[in-house]
């Protein structure tokens, strides 16, 4: 937000905002508009230079710059013409309604009513319809989300039933829930695991049950930020990819592409194994070659099993499947 157009737009909201909150701190005002205090200071100097035609002292917007620079509080006055913000543009209404859709995807059912009514009010606030958007996030069962929100509000420790990731075991970790977040279109529970004594992420659609324990949850501070799900120390693996499998570059963290070569960042060898197996002939690891050994061994074992078993049990099985 550094162009002149952005600044004009912001000032048209900032000036009425500040008039309605005399004495607000620089920190609070900057946070409300998602800008730095330096940017806010620059905005205030612009406001200070503006006002009604005439340019006499009584015509200009008054900003107590001594209070701003001394105590870090803002007193802005004499801007009656700009006491109300500019109406919302259709794209702004659309943006907020899109954001509310994302909230609805991962919120507990108890919030649906407020989300829908807020969205309906926004829809009436502009002069024409905003852009249409449809959001879907992989988020699992809504009763799981409600149980997690309830536990969090009651400060309860919970036992999850979790059908884990690539290795596929079912576990029952005891955790203190900290946040429900979204990464790359999947919702995760960030929680402190008592068994592991550390932060863990659990994919929401793989949590099949949440049961409160009698223990009170403890505060472990903020869970670590993970920008995407493979931000931990990762190995780089390069694959040669057919056109039909090019989608992997858009769905997984890709560090480089060149021609038909794609370099992925891989944390979990089990994840790479299942990816190579499902892609079959559409992709092949080219470096490091050993990275696909697991998949090749798994495929050979599976093919042998299929062949053995076709010889002995196929006829029965097929009859069973009809």
């Amino acid at each position: 937000m550094s162009t002149s157009a952005d600044q004009v737009a912001r000032l048209l909201a900032l000036i009425p905002y500040l008039q309605a909150r005399p004495g607000i701190t620089m920190a609070d005002a900057a946070a409300a508009f998602s800008i730095s205090q330096k940017q806010l200071m620059a905005d205030l100097w612009v406001a200070f230079m503006c006002g009604l035609p005439g340019g006499m002292p009584g015509d200009l917007i008054e900003v107590d710059m001594d209070a701003v620079e001394g105590e870090g509080v803002i007193r802005l006055s004499n801007a009656a013409v700009l006491s109300k913000p500019l109406r919302l543009a259709p794209h702004e209404v659309g943006t907020l309604r899109l954001a509310l859709q994302a909230v609805r995807e991962i919120a507990a059912p108890e919030s649906y009513g407020a989300i829908d009514s807020a969205s309906a009010k926004l829809a009436t606030m502009s002069w024409q319809d905003g852009p249409t958007a449809v959001v879907s996030i992989v988020t699992g069962d809504e009763s799981v989300r409600q149980a997690l929100v309830d536990a969090r509000e009651a400060h309860q420790r919970v036992r999850l039933t979790y059908e884990g990731g690539a290795r596929g075991d079912t576990t029952q970790p005891v955790v203190d829930p900290a946040a429900i977040v979204v990464r790359d279109g999947y919702a995760y529970l960030e929680a402190w695991s008592l068994d592991r004594d550390g932060w863990r992420s659990y994919r929401l659609d793989r949590i099949v049950a949440v049961v409160p324990t009698s223990a009170e949850g403890a505060d472990h501070g903020q869970p670590p930020l993970r920008d995407n799900w493979l931000s931990e120390a990762a190995a780089e693996v390069t694959l040669r990819v057919e056109d039909s499998a090019w989608w992997i570059t858009e769905n997984y963290p890709t560090s480089a592409t060149s021609g038909d070569l794609v370099t992925l960042r891989v944390v979990d060898p089990a994840w790479l194994r299942q990816l190579v197996l499902r892609l079959g002939g559409e992709a092949e690891v080219v470096a490091p070659l050993a990275a696909q050994d697991d998949a090749v061994l798994a495929a050979r074992e599976a093919v042998a099993l299929y062949e053995d078993w076709t010889a002995t049990g196929d006829v029965v099985a097929r009859e069973g499947s009809v």
């Binding site: 998602s34 449809v134 769905n251 099993l305 299929y306």
Partner: protein, 320 residues
Amino acid sequence: MAPRKTERQLNLVICLLAARRYLTREKIRDSVEGYQGLSDVAFQRMFERDKDDLRDLGIPIETGSNDSYFDDEQGYRILPGDFELPPVEFSQEEQVVLGIAAHVFHGAGLAPRASSALGKLQAAGVELSTTGFVQPRLGGDDEAVGVVWEAIADRRRIRFDYRAPGLTRLVEAWGVLVRRGVWYVYGLDLDREAPRMFRLSRMAGGVEALEPSGAYELPDRGVVEAAAASLEPAAVTDTAFIAIRGTAAPALRRRGSVVTVPAPDGYVAYAVPYGSVGEIADQAAGAAPNVLVIGPDEVRDATLDRLRAVAARSLSTELA
């Protein structure tokens, strides 16, 4: 940044908002700080550009004359009733969910639009809570996101190279879909004369929004929703019989139910509903050898195709 330009445009807004009557260009030139001392040509050009910039922000600058009986010079003003956000009232619960929504685009393409909208709501008295337990994020970091979004709002056609430079498409965009973190735009492809879906991340070299605004009408929201539904997995129509070893493949086990179909030693047979052969073959191959497909043949063959392609490769130790 151009503080002088910002000051001049803000002064122009205040001047036109405070005006009781239409103001002529000469009057505006005399009144607004920043227009004085310019040549006639420079002033006209600057005033035209300022007007366009402000209208782009959604500021309704009216044109008219004060006296319809005489052939008065055209003037300009902003009616406060058209300019101002009408009174808004959100309940406590609504303000909480708006507070959560405020963080959805954190650092992403639509973040500035969300901030400006929320700034206006806060200026109208809405109080937003800070972030809490539920923290959705939508991503959408491509620069294309913002351009496409405003183009749809303004009903302006978009032009972009798709997948490779030179493969240019001209599209009337109808809506945006965000599925599993991937952003799509859906709309009418004017060259192919049919609706098409495009991934924003495949728009090579950015997107251009073309003049004029209002070039087309948006279809009913249902059209975009139907396109979104087409991205979801095919509806479940068939049943596969799948042998699973131990606690492998919980997703398949959960979808299915144990059946008494013969399975290899150490495996348990499940009946698993599925929508598309490719999707279930992907899952079965991915979990091999702990998962084997019993039938039907087309699922088994599709799974075996994938596995045979991988099994035929050399291990790193086999390469001398």
